[in-house]
Symmetry: C2
Subunit: 314 residues, 2 copies
C-alpha cells in the first residue's frame, strides 16, 4: 500500500466506553421486558437464575452449527449434565434464533445479515443486563464463515476491524430520520490472545480486516447472482483493490457485531473460516464433509480459548 | 399532508422492465449452478422437472409459519398427495431457509432483514429460470408481520410502495464501491385485486405505504432496545410524521422484496399483518394464540387469491 495513502481503516480506535450492556434511560420505566425474538421475558422467566454465570457468548449464523457447538462444548468442558437430561433450545418458543447454554457459555444463532444479528444483540444485551452479569467480564464472539481474499480455503481470519462495502469502519443506522455512524473496532489484545491459541492447536489462522456487506451476490462482487451488470475484470479489479487495503475476508455480520459490542464497551472478537478464495471464484462447491471440518475450526479455537480461561486442561 | 409538499413516495412508478428472472450475461458461461443457501444445484437436481409448474411464490420470515402455510395450502387447494407421502422441506440440506412446494405454490422462509431476503431472492430467481417458468406468469408474495401506525392490531396492510427509514422509495446496494439505487414499486392492479379478495373473506385490510428498516429497535423508533438516546416525545413526533406521509406499517424486508421483483419485472405484492399499534407502544405482549390467528390472515387472503386464479371453489 502507498505509504501516503490515508487509510481510514488504520485510524486509531476511539477509546472504548465504560462497559454497560444497556445504554437506555427508558428501560428503567418498564415493568416487564419481553425479549420477543428469544421467547423470554422478565415476567415468566427468572433471568438472573438462568443466566447469571454467563461469561462467553458465542454467535454464529446457522442454527444447526450453533446447536452442534453447544454439544461440542459439553464434551470439551467435561460439562456434567444431570442424568437423563440433555441440552435444549432455550428459545424454542420462537423460531427466529436458537439459544443453548453450557455453564458459562451461551451458543446462539443469528441468521444471515446485519438486521437479523442486530435484533439478536439488542435482546442478548438486555438479557445479560437482566441477569446481572458483569459487562466488563463477558466476552462476545462471532464464529462464522466467509469468502477469503488470497487465502487458502479453510484458513481462519480473526478480524482486526470490520468495514462496510465502501471500506468505511462504521455501521450506519437511520434513527428517527437521521443517519448515525457507530465505529466498528475490535480488541487487539484479545485478538492476539486468540491468535496464540489458534497457533497452539495448529489451526491456520491470520489477522486481517473484514469487509461486511448487505448483499451476498452483487454486494460482494459475485458474477453468479440473478442480476449482475459488471464483468469478471471489474470484479477482479475491485477485489484486488480491497485486498491491497488489507481486506482478508468478506462476510455479512462483522460490522454490526463489532459496532454494537464497541458501543456497549463489551470485549468482542470475530473468527471466520474462509470457504473459498474469492480471487479464484464465486461458487461454493467444496464437498460437504470438507466444509464441515473447516466450519469446526473457529469452534476449536474458541474451545481452546475458553478452556484456557477456565483453567481446564485436556 | 400539505398539498405543496413534494412527496417522493407519490412519484409515478418507472415502467416495469420486460419480465426476466435473471439479468446477468455471466450466467450463460457457467456449466453448473450451485444455489448454495437452498442446497439445490443443476448438477444433482432436475430443476425443470421439480419446479416448472410454479406460479405463486410465497415468502415469509418464519420457517415454522411457512411450513404451516404449505400444509394449509394442501387443504385449501384440495391438493392430492400420494398415499403414504407428506410434504418435505426441499432445502433440508441447508438450515438457512425452508422451501415447500404444493403444486403451483412455493412456500419459502426468508429469515429477518434485507440481506437474508436478498440472498434468497437471487437464488429463487435463478431457480425459476433454470426451471423454465414464465417470468410474466409467476407472482411473488411476501406474507409478513409488521408494526402498524394508527391501525387496530390484526389489520392487514397491502403495501402500495416500500420506503426506507428516510422515506426514500428505493433500496441502496453498494456494488464494487458504487452505491446503486433500485426503485421499490409494487403493482397497483394486483394490490386492488388482493384488496377485493380480502374484503370478500371479511379480513380487515388496508392499502398503505410500508417503511422498511435495517434495525428493529432504534431504526423503528423503539424505546425498548439495549441502546436508545431519544425520548418518547422524539419517537412519537417521528412516527406521527411518518404516518402523516402515508406510512401504514413498518417492517424489515419490503424494500428489498419490491426492488428485486421490480428489477426482474416480476409481479409482486407485500401483505403484512400488524401485531401492534406503534403509536401506542413498542412491546409485543399479545397472547400467543391471538397472535397466531392474526398471522394467519395474510395466508387466508393468499389462499383465496390463489384459489380464485386457479378456479378452485370452496
Amino acid at each position: 500500500m502507498d505509504q501516503n495513502d490515508m487509510d481510514i481503516t488504520n485510524m486509531e480506535p476511539p477509546p472504548s466506553p465504560k462497559p454497560s450492556f444497556v445504554r437506555n434511560a427508558n428501560l428503567a420505566t418498564m415493568k416487564e421486558d419481553y425479549l420477543y425474538h428469544l421467547a423470554l421475558d422478565t415476567e415468566h422467566h427468572d433471568l438472573k437464575d438462568m443466566f447469571k454465570d454467563v461469561r462467553f457468548v458465542c454467535f454464529g449464523g446457522s442454527p444447526s452449527r450453533m446447536k452442534a457447538f453447544a454439544f461440542y462444548m459439553v464434551d470439551e468442558l467435561k460439562y456434567k449434565m444431570v442424568a437423563g437430561q440433555t441440552l435444549e433450545n432455550i428459545s424454542r418458543g420462537s423460531d427466529r434464533y436458537v439459544l443453548y447454554k453450557v455453564g458459562p457459555v451461551l451458543s446462539v444463532s443469528h441468521g444471515m445479515g446485519i438486521p437479523s444479528l442486530s435484533i439478536l444483540i439488542h435482546e442478548i444485551l438486555k438479557l445479560l443486563n437482566h441477569a446481572g452479569c458483569d459487562p466488563g467480564e463477558v466476552i462476545f464472539f462471532r464464529l462464522g464463515t466467509s469468502g477469503g481474499l488470497g487465502l487458502e480455503p479453510g484458513t481462519v481470519v480473526i478480524s482486526e476491524a470490520a468495514v462496510d462495502g465502501l471500506l468505511r469502519p462504521y455501521m450506519e443506522v437511520a434513527i428517527l430520520g437521521l443517519i448515525n455512524q457507530f465505529p466498528a473496532f475490535l480488541c487487539p489484545m484479545l485478538n492476539n490472545e486468540l491468535l496464540d491459541v489458534a497457533k497452539s492447536i495448529g489451526c491456520e489462522t491470520v489477522l486481517g480486516k473484514t469487509m461486511c456487506t448487505y448483499d451476498f451476490y452483487e454486494g460482494q462482487g459475485r458474477l453468479d447472482g440473478a442480476f449482475c451488470d459488471f464483468t469478471e475484470e471489474d470484479k477482479m479489479n475491485f477485489l484486488k483493490r480491497a485486498h491491497g487495503k488489507g481486506i482478508a475476508n468478506i462476510e455479512m455480520e462483522s460490522l454490526c457485531f463489532a459496532a454494537m459490542c464497541h458501543r456497549a464497551g463489551v470485549k468482542s472478537a470475530v473468527l471466520c473460516v474462509t470457504l473459498l478464495d474469492r480471487l479464484k471464484g464465486d461458487q461454493i462447491s467444496t464437498p460437504h464433509d470438507v466444509m464441515e471440518e473447516w466450519q469446526q475450526r473457529p469452534q476449536r479455537i474458541m474451545s481452546a480459548f475458553i478452556k484456557k480461561k477456565l483453567g481446564i486442561s485436556d
